[in-house]
Amino acid sequence: MGEVALKRGVFVLAVLLIAVIIAAVCLGAAHVSWRDALSGDATARAVLVRIRLSRVVVAALIGATLAVAGVTFQTLLRNPLADPFILGVSGGAACGAAVVTAFGLARVPGLVPVVAFAGACGATAAVFLVARRRGRTDTTRLLLSGLILNALFSAIILIAFALAPASDMASALRWMMGSLSGASWSDAILLGTMFVIATATLVFISNDLRMLAFGEDDARAHGVNVERVKLIGFGAASIVTGAAVAASGIIGFVGLLVPHLVRLIWRRDYRYLLPLCALAGPALLVASDTVARVAIAPVELPVGAITALLGVPFFLSLLRSSR
């Protein structure tokens, strides 16, 4: 009975995602059509495939990544307010990436994603140390540690760029606000690889990971190797967060919003939420990014601002209603 509901949910969300992607590729500041591109118009093809489609694919991958990371953090921490942005994990990744960029090392191949990942892991470890007491994460401590980490990371980002040439200031803003304007196919390939590896890993442990929602002692009593599942789960969620931030800077609230929207419809365990989030996340972020591109075109809004505008009211209502 459960699998039928899951298949229906996956089908509905997949159709929604495809519709959003088609709309996103068709909409934009430049008026070009697929008919032109397919009939050999080189400019139309360049705009659609090289610029617009690559950006839509990167947006979809980042949406999927952040949603998967969010639902994983929420389950591991048994806390509905956990998300890579609020925990400071995105901030840690951006901080690492910004420091590398400020020192002019951004062009060293692979360095930005690796440092972003290190920053994400460092932030995850810090949250662990600060917010956990006696096997539980207290919501107040969780939010406080996220707040303080985010303040620390934005300070470091600002200092890094103050020391760097003035021309790099725009780049600093990009790390902090999140933007998909520079998205390329190479970003898409790197992100896609990371996303597939991390999600496959999470699927591999999902039958154990979902049991953590009932508490760690309870999971142990059901034969779950809790320490191993936590290590793998936090590791995978941190890696994909690092990869996402390296490509786009900090895009907030997607990891919080998507699992909750999914849960409003399907109140099931992690094994169901994981694929549903991996489909709903891209739909939300591609839609947000399209709004960012076309709302007051040709001026482009930062997509992080759009997701924040959506996310903040939602977060506040969640905070009010949480026990």
Binding site: G2, M211, A213, F214, D218, A221, V224, R263, R267
Partner: protein
């Protein structure tokens, strides 16, 4: 079935550096009553029984249950089930069920989905619960008089209803040994009676053994065949309720002034 042999477990043995930084902590630690369990041995035979684990707060009841459930590993001694101590975690979980004192359900699901998650030790890595697993879950809910709760969500239930759902979740795993930590806590008197009748029913129908911890000596005695009374991390008495619930025994074990009338403990209110 179960043998606990000279098992010890102490909490929060602080690392030496921290002790040096807080010289007072050492004194406080040695002055505090012993926490955890200390050199406990016990034997639980085959065949259904309802066993109460009684004793004051902090006497080691929860720790002993966690050790038997393999939620924590003993620092000394061993827990042996069916003459083996090399069970894999999943194998062990199929035989021994454990219900912690407080259950967590931040993301409230339907009761039936919660109950069927008790089948986890039987699932292979990528499997979802089958129709048979759901049938087991329905049976377990019925055994707990909670069939009507199946389609409801946990956050729409009273404390007593949730308790029964989580008991059904333990039963869904079909364990032969069921460990319940303070199952009567947070239940009113009527529900305590209902719940204890339920436990008796489960023992009779499934021939499993239930070990429940209770700080309330009266409930422990009223609903058990055998009482293990803990004090300062040790089992101070292993006897029938009738033997324990005598004025002089209670005075000796608990060190407080009380009388027992017809096997019920009554505080001594005369000054």
């Amino acid at each position: 079935m179960l043998r606990v042999e000279n098992v010890s477990y102490a909490y929060g043995v602080a690392p030496p550096t921290r002790r040096r930084m807080h010289p007072d902590a050492d004194a406080a630690e040695s002055a505090a009553p012993h926490r955890g369990v200390n050199d406990v041995s016990l034997h639980v035979g085959d065949g259904g029984a309802l066993i109460a684990l009684a004793g004051p707060n902090g006497s080691g009841k929860s720790t002993l249950l966690k050790l038997i459930a393999r939620v924590i590993a003993p620092q000394r001694g061993e827990v042996v089930l069916d003459d083996r101590n090399d069970w894999t975690a999943k194998e062990y979980a199929r035989r021994v069920g454990y219900l912690p004192q407080e259950t967590e359900d931040v993301f409230a699901m339907r009761a039936i989905d919660v109950v069927v998650s008790g089948r986890a030790p039987y699932l292979s890595r990528f499997a979802f619960e089958s129709e048979e697993d759901y049938a087991e879950a329905e049976k377990a809910l019925a055994l707990c008089d909670a069939s009507y709760l199946g389609a409801r969500f946990l956050d729409e239930m009273s404390g007593g209803e949730r308790k029964r759902v989580f008991l059904a979740r333990v039963l869904a795993g079909a364990p032969r040994l069921i460990l319940l930590d303070e199952p009567f806590a947070a239940l009113d008197v009527a529900h305590v009676q209902q719940f204890s009748r339920l436990l008796r029913d489960i023992v009779d129908r499934t021939n499993s053994t239930v070990v429940f911890a209770s700080h309330d000596l009266n409930w422990a005695a009223a609903y058990s065949d055998r009482m293990l009374v803990m004090r300062d991390g040790r089992i101070a008495r292993d006897a029938t309720p009738g033997e324990v619930m005598r004025t002089e025994v209670v005075r000796e074990l608990f060190g407080f002034d009380a009388r027992t009338i017809d096997g019920w403990l009554v505080p001594n209110l005369q000054r």
